[in-house]
């Protein structure tokens, strides 16, 4: 029977297939979890919703502890361009917003919202939207509130992928239903059971992208799913819709987007381009179904289908609310067998071991495999690479994994980059076929992270260097400015010294007179203008004297030359030395800075002018302030 179905579906899709290089065919292990239909879970006691469930920015929490929320209520809002919202999967009370272990390879805890269900499962006021009549721009904008991300495992926010406003340039929409990893069957069961809804969802995505053509790619190990999709496509006659189901050979990793595009179209998406740049967009079946639920029923993304398989009593697919603790799911699958050692999230080729059993199901969790040493034997110790190139034969990207391994092992990252390390999709096909049991993908992950870290460090270093160059330039400029000022001052001093020499005789008398004037200044100031000017002059002079004295004292105390000369370049220093020499020659270098008469002429006048200007400005400011104040009152 199976063979017959297989044959008919193959005949139907007599469409040309464009094989990619390499690929492997591991034991499928899919039959175990496809025996039963998708099961529903009871409400767990609590739901733990990590904020980090998708690619991009962490969403912003919109609820507080103790707040009662309804099913589908937005509890965290997309933050920035690439981000996705999170909704309450059921009605209940926010119990905590704290760090907890999340399903991530790092095993590090991260911020989670914990919700205690009230058991009523009360929906918010759902707002379905008619996508057929709606404005595409608004529809995409509203998707930002849907929380929908790529459910194939990539978890890229869907609203970004549909951000098309009718000018996407996407002519062909590819629906990824290959599901090439062993054990995973969530898409298979979904297509068997909800093909009609999926096709509706495809129509929505197609409409929003403005794509002319839709190709649904399914591996030939899912004949029932292919048949169901075929029937749904034929039944749902949607205007301007051309959808074809294309059955592709079962060969891992055909579900990789670029490999699938090649399989069904023969198009090789250039390594440095995104699929949309060549008029293609790829969506997973579960994602388009979520689109349909969102627009048709106003239901945001709060659950997904998860294959619970491996070392459990009754492997099965379940519809699981996000945040459901894993043990709840394991129990639903009849419980784990005695020798279960840990759990793997995703498939055995690209998945990762969960740090802990007590993690929640997230948007990325397409499959949970209960693992045992029996099921996944620990690999024997690695042997040296014998350059057999089986890895190269298996690589779907046509890389030379054995060369990349040598380069990664030798920390020769530049060479690894030359050999296109970053085109590696980490599918694991190379490790899968390696006779020496070398954990090749781990070497590539290591090399990639090192290169990324080095690039970041380089970027930071470049920035630092730029800043430093700027700082050095500024210091140099300021130095020159200071030297110039110094020189000007010295010039002034020279002129004054000449004058001083002439007036030397009168010096003492003038000094006395000045001192009297300074003390008298406050009293006399209002009497006449001349006195005001004089007082201002003298006050300024006195202040200047004090400043100069202080500076000099400081310099002497530190046993140093004035700071601003220390870094001066040779010519400046020479100039200063010459000036000093000339000062010494006239025997005034000491006196110059302190002698009030010496600076009287120029500086006193300047100081007076500044004082006047300041006064005028203060007056003007005061007027403005009052004006503003009155305006504000009005």
């Amino acid at each position: 029977m199976n063979a017959l179905v297989n044959l008919t579906s193959l005949l139907k899709s007599a469409k040309e297939i464009f094989p990619f290089h390499g690929g492997v065919h591991p034991p499928e292990n899919k039959a175990q979890s496809t025996q039963l239909p998708i099961g529903q879970l009871s409400l767990p006691e609590k739901l733990v919703l990590p904020l980090r469930q998708h690619v991009g920015n962490i969403p912003k929490v919109k609820v507080s502890i103790g707040e009662h929320v309804l099913k589908g209520q937005l509890i965290a809002e997309a933050e920035g361009a690439v981000s996705a919202a999170i909704h309450a999967p059921t009605s209940g009370t926010i119990f905590s917003i704290a760090d907890a272990t999340i399903p991530h390879p790092s095993g590090l805890p991260d911020r989670c919202i914990t919700l205690i269900p009230d058991g009523k499962d009360t929906w918010i006021d759902k707002k379905p939207q008619n996508w057929r009549t709606g404005d595409r721009k608004n529809l995409v904008a509203s998707l930002r509130l849907s929380g929908i991300v790529g459910l194939g495992g990539a978890t890229f926010p869907t609203h970004i992928k549909l951000r098309a406003d009718g000018k996407s340039g996407v002519h062909t929409l590819i629906i990824n239903a290959a599901e090439c990893e062993p054990y995973i069957t969530c898409d298979d069961r979904l297509m068997r059971e909800r093909a009609d809804e999926i096709v509706q969802g495809i129509a929505i995505a197609q409409f929003m992208l403005g794509a002319e053509r839709v190709i649904i790619g399914i591996e030939d190990n899912k004949p029932e799913a292919a048949k169901a999709m075929e029937a749904a496509v034929n039944k749902v006659a949607i205007a301007n819709t051309k959808m074809e189901v294309v059955v592709v050979p079962t060969l891992y990793p055909s579900g990789d987007a670029r490999r699938l595009v090649h399989l069904v179209l023969g198009t090789e998406i250039p390594h440095d381009k995104r699929s949309t740049e060549v008029g293609l967009q790829v969506f997973n079946v579960a994602t388009v179904l979520a689109l349909y639920r969102y627009f048709e029923f106003g239901e945001p993304s709060i659950s997904r289908i998860v294959s619970m398989t491996g070392n459990v009593q009754q492997p099965q697919n379940f519809e699981v609310l996000f945040g459901t603790p894993l043990p709840h799911l394991v129990t639903a699958a009849g419980g784990a067998k005695a020798d279960t050692s840990h759990y793997i999230m995703g498939g055995p080729m690209m998945g990762f071991a969960l740090p802990d059993e007590n993690v929640p199901i997230t948007k990325a969790a397409n499959c949970i495999i209960a693992a045992s040493p029996n099921l996944f034997a620990p690999p024997p110790p690695a042997m040296p690479c014998i350059r057999c190139a089986r890895c190269a034969d298996a690589c779907p990207v046509n890389l030379q994994p054995q060369e990349l391994y040598w380069f990664a092992k030798a920390d020769n990252f530049e060479k690894a980059n030359d050999y296109k390390l970053f085109d590696c999709i980490e599918c694991g096909a190379c490790s899968y076929v390696c006779p020496s049991n070398i954990p090749l993908v781990q070497y590539y992950r290591y090399a990639k992270s090192e290169i990324i870290a080095a690039d970041k460090a380089k970027e930071a270093a470049d920035l630092a260097r730029e800043r430093n160059d700027f700082r050095l330039a500024r210091i140099e400029r300021e130095k020159l400015e200071r030297a110039q000022k110094h020189a000007e001052r010295a010039e002034a001093g020279k002129a004054a010294a000449a004058k001083l020499a002439a007036e030397k005789a009168a010096n003492g008398a003038i000094k006395d007179a000045l001192e009297t004037n300074i003390h008298a200044a406050p009293g006399d100031a209002k009497d006449n203008e001349a006195d005001v000017q004089k007082a201002a002059k003298q006050a300024a002079i006195a202040a200047a004297i004090e400043r100069a004295k202080a500076a000099k004292a400081a310099a002497v105390a530190s046993g140093d030359a004035p700071k601003n000369v220390v870094n001066a370049d040779a010519s400046v220093k020479k100039e200063i030395a010459e000036i000093d020499a000339r000062r010494d020659a006239v025997g005034l270098s000491e006196k110059l800075a302190v002698d009030p008469v010496a600076v009287e002429d120029k500086q006193a006048k300047i100081a007076a002018a500044i004082a006047k200007a300041k006064a005028a400005k203060a007056a003007a400011d005061a007027v403005k302030l009052i004006e503003n104040a009155s305006e504000n009152k009005e």
């Binding site: 690209m350 071991a353 085109d423 954990p439 993908v441």
Partner: protein
Amino acid sequence: MMNRSPYISDAPSVGAIMLKVLLALVPGIIAYVWMFGGGILVTLLLATVTALLAEAVMLKIRNRPIQPFLTDYSAVTTAWLLALAIPPLSPWWLIVVGTLFAIVIAKHLYGGLGYNPFNPAMIGYAVLLISFPALMTKWPAALQLAQTKLGFIDQLQFIFSGALPPQIMLDAVTSATPLDYLKTQLTLNHDVAGISQAPIFGTLGGKGGEYVAGAYLLGGLYLWQQKIITWHLPTAFLAALAVISGVFWLADSAHYASPAFHLFSGASILCAFFIITDPVSGPTTPKGKLWFAAGVAVITYLIRVYGGYPDGVAFAVIFMNICVPLIDAHTQPRVFGHSK
């Protein structure tokens, strides 16, 4: 904690691969015994024991785990290939010296399994050929041709003591190989048609030897069917050898032997399926394999025709081993999504 995927594997171990290579040599060995007597079994045994001992000692000295490396059977493979390449009626120490050189110097001093730039068996062979040229040309005549037949015990005795049964001269039980004979006769201004009338010539190659080559071919096809080797190396080697010998033969068939003779004489078939297919010292890219094998074929032919040795496989392989990094670097396949 880190991501250790994939968690599954479907690869034969290095040991399993090498065992299949050894298994693939068995038909050739059977044909060898049938055609030339059981002496080769002694040589094979000597080589095997020497190789395993040398391997174990070197692993111990290099502080490497002994058991996993002894059971990868790579040393045994090297030993067998060398044993099959040298004359079976040689004194026992010849194969021991050659094997020691192959394992200790060509393999372990370069870093052991996976690190040797040269094919260890061919290095061992080249050392013996240069050091003991006379011994290396004393090939037993095919039993059906020999005036006097040596039994297994006689061969065994000769290997270990160098003594032949009374009244039997060494020349009576050995003969020149067809390649050797052809070469010397050509220098005496005989033509190929005349030379190949000699009794040592069979239908395609040398009498006896051509059956052994045929059995190697069977074993090689088994390796290909088992996906231990790809088609690239044997096909390119045999095709290139056929083409270059064909061109010379078509141009002057009086002085150049036919492609069929070259393919089924000497170590051609063994080389095509078992020697150049050593992954460690060979290229890894598909295109690189074609260039490498063609290079070995051309150099082999040139040595056979113009060089100082009757066969040139060992030197050709060693020379092309040097070129492997260059070949690999220049034959990188186009990566998916890259124009080149």
